[in-house]
């Protein structure tokens, strides 16, 4: 018998920072009776919103790690992943979207579609996540949900259509009109839990009729039944209308828009109805795994709980009982006591406790069927690992992981802190693939790397709070890279005779720039000038040289090495000798290949009131920013620029002070670009100085 997953929804709540998604999650949990009291985001009452379970999140009023939680609404089981809104944590957002079937895009009715909404929307597009929109904060002064719907259309290209209209706005927001049922909904009781359904107020009748007409018109494109009903002038029932909108939503061709104010407890329950009516069940979404036995051929998964297990570990958390691994089951059923295999390393593990999460509280369950999200205890793995039943060799598609662009040296205060720090670093790098750490062998410093200043700041803070690791930090360092710009030949002989057997190896060939790979090695030796057994040693030697440029000691990328001649000695040649020869050859050719330094360039988007447009452009320009353009949005204006990361330190403070705190910006990595000569000289000086201090 086929398992019916039609009543399951795995959804995410994605949005711009401060558009109220954590408040919305909190209300959802309240109305679905998972919690019995409502707390504010910033923890004024000392408790904090349920989904923000880390202390740090409560303090800063932002959501860092996506807590997964489960609730029930009208016979549907809903798993919610609360996703962080800041760009620095985008990997978290992307990871969440990977396991979701649908999403609520939360927008602020005043701020509208902001730059972060655009980033999040692009991610949703990438993972083809169907979404419904919720225009929040309709009680705020300046609220205009229809302007936001227009922005959804023009800025994000969504075919957005209102499912509701507001009854009153700003401080006089009373409720919403449901355009499918043509009824007015009011939210009574202390926390808006009692829904009062009434006739539409007469003054809103005409507007409601017009908007319903628009809704029917847009929905009719997806349903022949609806078109027929329109042509035959039959009554259009809410069911008919919802079925049509649902079809469009699943194809991502229409975006139904709900509205209200989560903070004022208005409009949340109809949104939950929308989630159950309009977003897909797990089996309605196509998920693909790669068959490792057949050349990574994609295999469409069926969401069948009777089949062998395929599950993805998408998040790890360190709890008081050990590592908690959040998984999404795509096929089969993960049961207590069953055996699963980690595809990455082939290790078999036995499933111990299986739980369902409700933010930081949990409930034990016996199994997780296909389509479910839950968590396992005591499983050692990394985030992004695939688990399968023994005998299967499938992996869920690997996610794109950007490389870190910024690094920071950290020094533990004492021995105790050192221990705690290494424990924390181990955990963080397992949890977050964009966070990396290593020890610089020359300076003996521990270096952490990540996607931005805030990203690293948060981890340093977490080290202190969760692991009691007091560390001091150095100045953030930009991840520069070196590359070559022209071909250069080499012909290098490594020869050493210091008693005993000597070392001998000669390598000849050339290096040249390539744009689409980091390192390519080509062997064009014919006739055995270098015996085949030493070729891997040559490659290894060149690869070692790429780790640190001979000039500025930044990693080198974009080099193709071709070897075409050489010589060996029957007694004195060895792997070691050819590795050394390769390093020497690289050094010889590198400086003649006109090396240059590349720096990470960030895409910076500033939203500012128009009166500060000129000064913001000035600020970006002073930072070697190339302004791509400015977009006039009435009172606000959006400026998009590409600015070197090295120039962006402290930008938020300066931006705030030059715009009376009214502008905000987001930043994400865009590309690597060559550093201008004058800056390259400055960098060379800094490197030389650092070396001196280290010595």
């Amino acid at each position: 018998m086929k398992f019916d997953d039609q009543k399951i929804r795995n959804i995410g709540i994605s949005a711009h920072i401060d558009s109220g998604k954590t408040t919305l999650s909190e209300r959802i949990l309240y109305y679905t009776k998972r919690i019995h009291a409502i707390h504010d985001v910033k923890g004024k009452d000392g408790v904090g919103a349920t989904m923000d379970s880390m202390d740090l999140e409560k303090e800063r009023g932002i959501t860092i790690a996506s807590a997964a939680t489960y609730c029930e609404w009208k016979n549907h089981e809903i798993n919610i992943i609360d996703t962080p809104g800041h760009v620095d944590f985008t990997i978290e957002v992307e990871r969440s979207l990977r396991v979701l079937d649908g999403a609520i895009l939360v927008l602020c009715s005043v701020g509208g579609v902001q730059s972060q909404s655009i980033t999040v929307d692009q991610q949703m597009k990438r993972y083809k996540v169907p979404c419904i929109a919720f225009i929040n904060k309709c009680d705020r002064s300046g609220a205009n949900p229809f302007r936001v719907i227009e922005q959804l259309r023009t800025k994000l290209g969504h075919n957005a259509v209102a499912m509701q209209i507001p009854i009153g706005l700003e401080t006089s927001l009373e409720g919403v009109v449901d355009l499918a049922a043509m009824k007015a909904l009011y939210f009574d009781g202390d926390s808006g839990e009692d829904i009062r359904v009434e006739d539409i107020p007469p003054e809103l009748l005409a507007e409601a009729a017009a908007k319903r007409e628009e809704l029917i018109d847009r929905a009719s494109l997806f349903s022949d039944e609806l078109t027929e009903a329109i042509l035959e002038e039959k009554e259009i029932t809410p069911e008919l209308l919802y079925a049509a909108v649902r079809k469009g939503t699943l194809k991502r061709e229409i975006t139904p828009v709900y509205m209200g104010s989560a903070y004022k407890n208005k409009g949340v329950q109809p949104l939950l109805d929308g989630v159950t009516y309009l977003l897909p069940a797990p089996s309605e979404v196509e998920n693909v795994a790669l068959d490792m036995n057949h050349n990574e051929e994609p295999v469409v998964l069926t969401s069948d709980p009777e089949k062998p297990i395929i599950a993805l570990a998408f998040k790890l958390e360190d709890g008081q009982y050990g590592q908690l691994t959040y998984i999404r089951v795509y096929e089969g059923t993960v049961e207590k006591g069953s055996t699963i295999v980690n595809v990455r390393n082939g290790k078999k593990v036995k499933v111990g406790r299986v739980v369902r999460m409700h933010a930081d509280q949990m409930e034990d369950v016996d199994s997780l069927k296909a389509g479910y999200i839950g968590a396992l205890f005591g499983i050692e793995c990394s985030s992004g690992d695939t688990f399968v039943s023994p005998g299967l060799n499938m992996t869920m598609t690997s996610m794109y992981v950007p490389k870190p662009v910024i690094s920071l040296a950290i020094v533990p205060k004492d021995n105790k802190a050192q221990m705690a720090m290494s424990k924390a670093l181990n955990r963080f790098s397992k949890e977050d693939p964009t966070f990396k750490s290593h020890v610089d062998h020359e300076t003996n410093e521990t270096i952490i790397e990540g996607m931005g200043e805030l990203h690293l700041d948060i981890y340093v803070e977490r080290m202190k709070r969760e692991y009691n690791a007091e560390v001091t930090t150095g100045n953030p360092r930009v991840a520069y890279r070196e590359t070559i710009t022209q071909r250069a030949d080499f012909n290098y002989t490594h020869k050493k005779q210091t008693g005993g057997s000597g070392q001998f190896g000669r390598i000849a060939g050339y290096i040249e720039p390539i744009s689409d790979a980091e390192f390519v090695f080509e062997n064009k030796i014919f006739g055995g000038a270098i015996p085949t057994q030493y070729i891997p040693a040559c490659e290894k030697g060149f690869k070692q040289s790429m780790a640190k440029g001979p000039k500025l000691e930044f990693p080198i990328t974009g080099v193709k090495v071709v070897i075409n001649d050489g010589a060996f000695h029957a007694v004195d040649s060895s792997d070691m000798a050819f590795q050394a020869a390769a390093r020497g050859a690289f050094k010889e050719a590198y400086l003649r290949a006109k090396p240059v330094v590349h720096e990470p360039i960030m895409k910076v988007v500033v939203e500012t009131p128009t009166e500060f447009q000129g000064s913001v452009m000035g600020l970006l320009n002073q930072r070697r920013g190339m302004i791509i353009g400015s977009q006039d949005e009435g009172v606000m204006c959006v400026i998009e620029a590409q600015v070197p990361l090295g120039e962006m330190f402290g930008f938020s403070t300066i931006l705030r002070s030059s715009t009376q705190g009214k502008a905000q910006f987001t930043m994400e990595f865009a590309l690597y670009r060559q550093v201008p000569q004058s800056i390259a000289e400055k960098i060379a000086l800094e490197v030389a100085q650092n070396k001196k201090t280290a010595a």
Partner: protein, 232 residues
């Protein structure tokens, strides 16, 4: 530079016999007339790319599209035009010419000449950008009066720029014998150069309506719709 050479040799306006390489003089106005979807914006973007390659800064003002969408126009057209070249070379060249472009978008209802001038002075005073040419895409000629065009002409003269417009002509409105639609006549005299794009099936043709040097070819030329260059 191969890319530059090819783009110049296949430039439709130069092939139509306009006098100098820059076609419009300082303070001049030019327009591309066509029905919706024929390629007005693409043609102007191609001309903008031409200017950028000559290190002449272009300000692209759009009243329809977001900055990111305008950027895609440039990116795609450039990559189509340069596709025969080595990819590393294309990237490097693209990065270089990008410095000569600035995109500004306004909402149609929020656009006015004083506002544009305010933004322009913001840029020029701080030495961020001084346009040589302006592309104004999306102005509705049948709705905006002659006054706005006169103001723009003044602006072009004041800052020694030339401004190119897109003019959307309607299919239901047959043009006069000289090719000009009636809804454009009230401002036609303000323009120094007018060209028309038309499509027949998959083919796109370009024809000069005003401003050609005497003795130049009067026939329409066939364009490659992917690049809006003369079909090779």
């Amino acid at each position: 530079m191969m890319i530059k050479k090819e783009i110049i040799s296949r430039n439709p306006l130069l092939n139509l016999g306009f006098e100098n390489e820059y076609i419009l003089q300082s303070g001049g106005l030019g327009a591309v007339l066509a029905h919706a979807g024929v390629g007005k914006t693409a043609l102007l973007v191609q001309m903008a790319l031409h200017a950028m390659m000559n290190e002449q800064p272009v300000l692209h003002v759009s009243l329809n599209d977001a900055v990111s969408k305008v950027d895609i126009w440039y990116r795609e057209l450039f990559h189509d035009m340069a596709s025969k070249n080595d990819s590393a070379e294309i990237t490097e060249y693209w990065e270089n010419i990008l410095n000569y472009r600035f995109i500004m978008t306004f909402r149609v209802e929020g656009f006015s000449v004083p506002k544009l001038e305010e933004r322009l002075t913001d840029l020029m005073q701080q030495n961020i950008f001084k346009p040589y040419a302006v592309i104004l895409d999306g102005l509705k000629f049948d709705e905006s009066g002659r006054g706005l065009l006169l103001e723009l002409k003044e602006l072009a003269k004041k800052y020694a720029m030339r401004i190119w417009f897109t003019v959307h002509t309607h299919r239901h409105e047959p043009p006069r014998e000289d090719g000009l639609p009636f809804s454009f006549l009230h401002v036609a005299d303000l323009f120094d150069v007018l060209v028309q794009l038309s499509s027949e099936g998959p083919e796109v043709y370009i024809k000069a309506l005003k401003g050609q040097s005497p003795g130049a070819k009067k026939d329409a030329l066939l364009l490659d719709p992917a690049t809006m260059l003369i079909k090779a």
